[in-house]
């Protein structure tokens, strides 16, 4: 009996220890969220703006897994309630994020010719950098610079807002790093991007 009580105590301790892990940045969910946004923004090059995708129905995902695994998952969900659930997801459905996505998507069609000419590219810090201003006709250079300044301001706000909306403003740098990776991965053919070493490459 004593051993059983002790066993429960230990289990509780282990489970509560699990909860403390949840403060870590949810890298996979953040990457998925970043991919959703990046694809959505880059669509702006050719398509009319689409409304932000609805949040994924996690239940339907869970239903597809093995019943035993599902039961175990449910058990864990019961034992480690809210915090664990929050850790698994990144909320990108706030009005601010929607407004920023729309703003970036609208700008994309103006940026696209300059991405393709190599004048600008996705740098390795999650921003857009001027890569080769010489590729831009003189009369358009300041227009490009303004587009890039506006885009980078939106991106900076987006990263901060995602971190804030998910209750962890301190995640901003990690959100930015995640996006930096995803922008490069999702760069459209012909676009230029900066690799981790700082060298420019063309997709």
């Amino acid at each position: 009996m004593v051993r059983r009580v002790f066993g429960f105590g230990l289990a509780a301790l282990i489970l509560s220890a699990c909860v403390t892990i949840n403060i870590y940045f949810p890298a996979a969910a953040a990457e998925e969220a970043a991919r959703t946004i990046v694809r959505d923004v880059l669509q702006g090059e050719s398509q009319a703006p689409t409304p932000p995708a609805p949040p994924q129905d996690k239940q339907s995902d869970v239903d597809r897994v093995h019943p035993l695994a599902f039961a175990f998952g449910r058990l864990l969900e019961g034992l480690v309630p809210a915090a664990q659930a929050a850790q698994a997801d990144i909320d990108i459905n706030t009005p601010a994020i929607a407004a920023l996505r729309a703003s970036m998507q609208r700008r994309q069609k103006n940026l696209a010719p300059f991405y393709r000419s190599g004048a600008i590219g996705f740098d390795n810090r999650g921003s857009v950098s001027l890569r080769d201003l010489a590729a831009v006709p003189l009369a358009q250079r300041n227009q490009v610079k303004k587009l890039v300044a506006d885009e980078n301001a939106d991106r900076a706000r987006l990263y901060a807002e995602i971190a804030r909306a998910n209750g962890h403003p301190e995640w901003e740098a990690e959100v930015r790093a995640t996006f930096a990776k995803v922008w490069v991965q999702e760069a459209l053919p012909g676009y230029w991007y900066q690799d981790a070493g700082g060298a420019w490459r063309q997709r």
């Binding site: 706030t94 601010a96 920023l100 201003l133 010489a134 003189l138 300041n142 610079k145 303004k146 300044a149």
Partner: protein
Amino acid sequence: MTDTGAGCRFAQMAARLGRVVLWVAIAFCLAGSPVVAAVALAFEVDEIQGDDWRAQGIKLRLHEAMPGELAASLTLDRLDLPADHGRVAGLELTCPVEQLPDGGWVCSAGKLLINDSPLQRQDAVWTSRYGPQSGLAIEVPRLSLHSGRIALALSWRDGEWSLRVTPKRVPLARLIDLSPALTTLEAWQLKGLGSGILRLRGTGDGLKEVESSLRLDALSYASPDATQAAEKLALRLDLTARRAGTTWVFESALDWPRGALYSEPLYLDMAQGALSTRMAGKWRPDTHLITLDSATLQLADTAEISGSGRLQGTPLEIDGLDVALRSDQAGNLYRRLLQPLLIGSVADDLEVTGRVELALQVDQHGIEAAGLELQGLALQDRQGRFGLDHTDGSLVWQREHEVTASRLQIGGASLFRIPTGAFRVEAAFAGDRIELLQPLVVPVLGGEIALERFALRGVTAAGQTAEWQASVWLREVDLEQLTRQLDWPPFGGVLSGRLDDMRYADRLFSIGGGLHLSAFDGDIRVSGLQVRDPFGSVPVLEAAARLRGLDLEALTRTFSFGLIQGRLDGDLDGLSLVGWLPAHFDLRLYTPEGDDSRRRISQRAVENLTELGSGVPAGLSSTLLRVFDRFNYERIDLGVALQGDVAQIDGLARPDGGYYLVKGAGLPRIDVIGRNRRVAWRDLIERLRQIRLEGARIE
């Protein structure tokens, strides 16, 4: 070795100068007659070598071609020019020399042949003249340089020399061939044609005078870092400079009549107004001091900048400079010169009109004093965030001293679509402080906003962001006009209050203390109001509010909700507007405890409340209760909590799980009971909109 005539060999000498080896052979042959019938002179050197140049196979010959006429020729096998300037191969210079009575000579039909040189192959004529009085003059009227040509004229007399270079449509790209120092130009993709005239005069101790009138046509270039570029630019330089002792006195005119110029971050298309500069001053190379007596820069249809001052040092730094700018077309000034500098700031997308004059005094430490004169200046943010109407007046500022008042008369302004009436600003600037000499009173929406205190920091310090702090009075600002301007549900009442600690720093606008609104015969106190990134693409407003003793009759009339009599308290917490749209709030509206006012609710209000709670009209008019127009109630209790796109509705709890929105009293008694607690925010807004549209007030 060459023998001439009788083939007599006079001398063969060898000289050694340092590492230089000279082989000199002179042959001088005379005819047998006592009178000199023919003269022949040959002078040969195998090699002359200097520190960084070398000439090989030099032959100078002089012989009598005709009686009284000598033919001179100089040939040179190879000349390696100093400082890697290339080499000259197969040079041949010949000239029949005619002797003049004054002891001088003239060569009027010289020939110059060069097989290869930095100026390519040359086959040119030249003339030369020497006289004891007139000195030496050499002229090469035409040297070809690719598709262009150059004329040279050199003279030397009494220790004074002059050189005239006259290029005609010389391709600038080929200048690279002339000097390794110019090879950096190769990366600049320099194109264009140079013409004009350049005159240099000097003495044994150096250059004394420069006079030039040069024209560059179809000039294009692009620096490798893309910060400097030009397209089809025409450029004209007129320069005169004379040296007196150690000081050069110069006067220059530089015009860019056509083409386009990019100099980061400015782009100037001369078709929109050409650029020209005039400068007059002195330059002392020994002390690196430039004194500008007058300088003007004119950008047609845009601005004229004039100035004078001193620049010193290497690199040049401002010692003292007075600059005046005048623009009768501030719109062009903004578009062409200012906007490129403001990219990335709030002010990078403006529509500007009016006239501007600016005077600046600059010393070694930066701007010392500034004066700005505005005439009919108006600016409007193209994104509609702010604007300034017809503004007249002057601003004066000094770094170290408090100066006379700055006065501005502003015809009106706007901030987030909220317009203001005309107002005056009287302030004194000093350092990075602004002191209001008169309270600044801005008429806004039937009331006024008075700025009592204003402190601005970090404007003049480099690397700092501006922040300001103010205390403000709001008096009788009409809420209905305000809410209409913001496209919110019209909201009657006035806004008054004192904001002691209003500040903007690090893109955060905040109001410390509270804001007090008098509306609907009650009080609304707003606290914790702050707007993050107010001029960004997604401003975020946060606030909380306490509503106390609002007159429901006035309130429901305003909203055309159907009459409700009584008093209402409310608590609004955690309000968050993102992009000016509600993202989160927690609102509770309720009948105050101990309210002894008459509490009655109309049939229409009951229907509306019911519809708001359930989305279904109450249908009272189809029941017996339709004969009663109004009902007594005990308590109203409505809670709406918005989180994301879902609103949670709540009221006074009932034991059956539902909640009272209105708990009736007396007879006939009517209760409005809610059962649904969650409603999509969009639906709730739609229901509210329906109610407003049905009301008489809006129609």
